[in-house]
Symmetry: C2
Subunit: 673 residues, 2 copies
């Protein structure tokens, strides 16, 4: 079989490896597998992204882009066997593909879903409610987010050639920004195949996605204030990137996820007999073996009560001894190879540093399963025991990016947390405990050092996603040594590719900008009862003013009797008057809501199909018998939901005969188009 030519996709063209291309070896055979590298015109690439990809993506709204992500996910899902087949060459097992390939596609699905459910059916993201500053409400502001007008450059690590790309692309595309992906050379052939699939799908606007598999040339030097540079990899490389003159001068948005010295703490409440002991041993062993320990989130430091260090060592050793290591294409193999011979040398060098402070407790020898892969970059898992974790330095600072971890004992929980925090910032720390107080203490004392704290116990074990697995719903990143960056976290991750802007003005201006009703804005009378108007006919700000209804003493008494809500404030004049919130007997809040519906509802079948919910109800002024209420119903927001109907949010205001607001809320209905 000949070498794979790993191409680039630049300014709309596929470009084959050039004269200076580098050879990439298979992780499992050690033989030459692929060629990558070409001279590219970085200026043309940026121009293509900014003049084609950006406008193409911005012409879509959040919901359209979310639908595009879903279609991409489905497209890749149908072709994932091809990705699996090629990915074995990186040393990854079928189980590892689950994290990389299925995990990446799953991230697209989650962002597709969150984009539809949690972002507006619009091209502007409104962050929070408007706040008015003046006494009459004539001036205020609201925060909005709009896509950055440049390009996002994603510099990814070798360990997750698919997930590493897709977890950055999903929020970038959802935001409305084009991307240039620069995968690490060692596994770029897998990324290239995935990019090729996405481009062939025809689902992306032209210019939205480009790929650099070799030298990026002066791409990074050309980045400016509307661009983003997002990096995953080592602390040393991150430092080189963020120190670049233009990155600093132009305040280019920079985000780094750095490999960190993640720790797992076995809670002080755990005994060798508790279920948590086994959970801990499984988590630790899994983090050493998945991806052969080549995960930025892997457990590098195992922190156990002093009295449990020996039992944990024995249990971990026993599990590791059963691990079949070798050809990842074999069904019985549970741990594959490191990505390359040079990576293996690097891990061994780092492990030697750790060995200065800790004792190796696992066997050195290794049997490699599979005749064809005896020259692959396989490494036996190395568990170290550090007897003096307080005096150690390398153990807390040197990361051997492979199946290497160090166990150390702690005296009490505050000692355990202090040891965990010695990593100077990590992506994730875990605590295996069945005691909520231990969990709370860990978060309060260690939270500031860790981007994620994973707690597992007997209650969650069967569904827990694992110490090492970042989920798209939750942030991935961490302070200090972990790079200070943040990715994912649902919609939070989209915001890294948008600019938040405080927009100030009159209610009418805020409404014009956000496309949703802002209290105080000029409203217009609905030309017909708004319940008779279809989704597409309703306009933001369109308003119905109902007739008034007087509340009688009999209404209140009857409502109490009928519903069973005989709370004294509605039934006993004297007791009600003694209550600091009421002037005397008052109408039930639910009576007001019910009568309000009676006032604004149009009874006949029409476009309004159902009242699906209600938000932000506040009772602001008590209503008593003799008062009369009327309702103002205003179209606030519209969101298409399915092919047949969309959600309408109505701003509802109940006022009394003096025009005072008795209650205010937001009502949701489903309306036919």
């Amino acid at each position: 079989m000949g070498l794979i030519n790993v191409e680039n996709f630049a300014a709309g063209q596929w470009i084959a490896p050039g004269d200076n291309a580098r050879r990439i070896q298979s992780a499992i055979t050690g033989e030459d597998l692929a060629l990558a590298g070409a001279s590219l015109d970085a200026g043309a690439m940026i121009d293509y992204a900014v003049t084609k990809g950006g406008p193409g993506l911005r012409a879509m709204g959040f919901h359209d882009r979310a639908k595009m992500l879903k279609a991409l996910a489905l497209y890749l899902n149908e072709r994932k066997q091809q990705l699996y087949d090629l990915s074995y060459q990186t040393g990854a097992t079928l189980g590892d593909h689950g994290f990389d390939i299925d995990g990446g596609i799953g991230t697209l699905f989650v962002y597709a879903s969150k984009g539809r459910r949690e972002m507006p059916d619009s091209d502007i993201y409104v962050d929070g409610e408007p706040e008015m500053l003046g006494k009459t409400g004539a001036f205020g502001g609201v925060h909005v987010c709009t896509p950055l007008k440049g390009v996002a450059v994603h510099v990814n690590a070798f360990n997750f050639p698919v997930w590493g790309m897709l977890e950055k692309l999903a929020p970038t595309f959802l935001a409305g920004m084009p991307a240039i992906v620069k995968p690490a050379t060692a596994t770029c052939y897998v990324t290239e195949l995935c990019v090729r699939m996405m481009l062939e799908s025809g689902l992306l606007p032209e210019g939205a996605l480009q790929l650099v598999t070799g030298d990026p040339g002066d791409l990074l030097d050309r980045l400016g204030s509307q661009d983003v540079l997002a990096f995953t990899g080592s602390a040393a490389t991150a430092n080189l990137l963020k120190s670049r003159e233009n990155i600093l001068r132009e305040s280019v948005r920079f985000s780094a996820e750095q490999d960190s010295l993640n720790a797992s703490i076995l809670g002080p409440d755990v005994t060798p007999e508790s279920p948590e002991f086994d959970i801990f041993v499984k988590e630790v062993t899994r983090e050493m073996s998945v991806k052969a320990g080549q995960k930025c989130t892997a457990i590098r430091r195992i922190i156990a009560p002093e009295g449990l260090v020996e039992p944990v060592i024995e249990a971990v050793k026993a599990r590791l001894a059963k691990l079949v290591i070798g050809d990842p294409r074999r069904e019985d193999v549970r741990m594959g190879a490191l990505v390359s011979a040079s990576q293996k040398r690097d891990v061994e060098e780092k492990a030697a540093l750790i060995a200065q402070e800790a004792e190796l407790v696992t066997p050195e020898g290794l049997t490699i399963a599979g005749d064809e892969v005896q020259n692959g970059a396989f490494l036996a898992p190395k568990l170290f025991h550090c007897a003096d974790p307080d005096g150690a330095e390398h153990v807390h600072a040197t990361e051997a990016f492979g199946p290497v971890s160090t166990i150390m004992g702690y005296r009490d929980m505050s000692h355990a947390v202090a040891l965990a925090n010695r990593g100077h910032g990590s992506l994730v720390a875990s605590v295996i405990t069945h005691d909520g107080d231990v969990a709370r203490e860990a978060v309060m004392e260690a939270g500031a050092w860790h981007g994620r704290i994973y707690i597992n116990d007997r209650a969650s074990a069967k569904e827990a996603t694992g110490h090492g697995a970042p989920m798209p719903h939750f942030v991935h990143g961490g302070p200090g040594r972990a790079g200070g960056g943040e990715e994912l976290g649902g919609v939070r991750g989209v915001m890294h590719y948008m600019q938040r802007t405080a927009v100030q003005g009159s209610p009418d201006m805020l409404q014009a900008v956000t496309g949703r009703y802002v209290p105080g804005a000029t409203t217009k009378e609905a030309p017909a009862h708004p319940f008779t108007r279809r989704f597409g006919e309703l306009e933001i700000g369109e308003t119905l003013e109902t007739a008034a209804r007087e509340i009688t003493p009999e209404d209140i008494a009857h409502f109490a009797e009928f519903t069973g809500d005989t709370f004294y404030a509605h039934t006993d004049e004297e007791a009600a008057a003694a209550n600091p919130f009421f002037p005397g007997k008052v109408a039930h809040g639910y009576l007001l809501l019910s009568f309000a519906a009676g006032l604004f509802v149009q009874p006949d079948p029409g476009p309004v199909l159902a009242n699906t919910g209600l938000d932000n109800l506040r009772f602001m002024k008590p209503v008593q018998a003799g008062d009369s209420i009327r309702v103002t119903l205003t179209v606030k927001r519209k969101t298409r939901r399915t092919d047949e109907y969309g959600e309408v949010r109505w701003h509802v205001r109940l006022t009394n005969q003096d025009g005072e607001v008795a209650a205010e809320y937001e009502l949701m209905t489903m309306n036919a188009y």
Copy 2:
């Protein structure tokens, strides 16, 4: 009068200026006014902050710290005349004090209020709702924020010696972080007086606040991953700070607000006769004269329709001609001095660069009002006209930090926006327009370049806070040339001093960590009806399960008739069945809410005083006649509100006879302690 000795407050000691102290001149007389500078032990200062100030602040919750901010604001407010009196020496007028001194105190008040209203009565901030990942809901996560464990170093600009400090301190203290303030030397004597007042108030925990008025020594080199460095000032200084080796290596949180080339656009809809013309002229003139134009948000570029350039120039010149410039202590003076003679030289040099591309249209001469201040750093306002804004460079890049601005014409709105964006990122752009479409276009096309977009017109003018005034409710900062930082914005600003951590675990663990009920967590039966239990007695997770109530056909018919809500889905079997959301005739949602209250209410006077509101109501499954509903009421959160009562949030779940959830919501009551 002798020189003012500007002291430092370091590690609990006031330290007087030392041998190397620098002399500071009065802006208005040019004479020596103060001495500042001493050798400080930066290590001891950080240690004092981290070991005393941090723990002292963290021992308080958000509400306690919010109360502390309010008390500080009241304390300073009573003493503000002293601050005014001293501040005249910086060149500031009484009007300017309104922005600096009253504005700073006002920021404390706003954060005090937001801390109480928008943050929890707790020591942990919960960011969003929990999300469960597994099918049975046994595992999920939630984001929490905890205070960073280091120190915040605030490096402030000379122009706002009080506001500049307090706008950073308010969110820092509210987060629970101690601070070291380093004001610019030129006006540090005002900052010192304000710090002295705050320390003398006794309101702050020991170690919460320190002050460096001279050389900070190696303070910045000692910052690490739990510290924050927040800077306001020039782009050049920001670049020096963020390029420091340890700042990069340790991923120290860095935030910069840089002076930027802010623009104001006069909308294409405006004619010389419209009210917006006068509004524009007033905004522009005010931004040139307030603080003698020494504001990072001032309008440096005036962008007007080509046909209106001449009328705007004439109108601005006319207003400037009436401006009395001179001794800021005089009542008739509207514009004071620049902060120093050297600052004046700098502005003149920058103005000379602008003059290469633009013509000065205001007079050069200046009459200084006030005999005593003839040697002060006064400067006549300089309005330039740039005839070729597309070809110009300095006009868009060189900031003369004084009463200097350049007017330029535009052809159409997209040209206007392109010119505004040539600033490469700014703190604020304004658009004076009465046309919502113009406002929307400006935000969509320019939003990504600007941290704030200020829209003003006839409707908002009487309450608008001004182009140049950052409000604590809204973010202050901007991309690119503006530094890429973000401050203020209400609670958003507090988060810059906290670490966001994704906490994962079982519902019980998430509940233990957050201190609020998480659906799926183990509940416990209330020992008595929870409405009979006082605020202090109620426990998170305490639950009432009510009896069931069957819904009869008569109930539905009667509710329709009684309330007037005769929507067909409740009254017409056939029409209801044709509705895609309903199986046939269904009970009103409000009937369910009302009956639910009837089921869970305890009628007698007791600790529950009032139902104040309801959030996140979702109707999940229709209820028909013959179904029966029951209610599960669980204590979710508790928030002390006044000396007498607190708010209880209840999680309410309505289930039918098959245990299916018919509706879910969150109910708020006021409860006596």
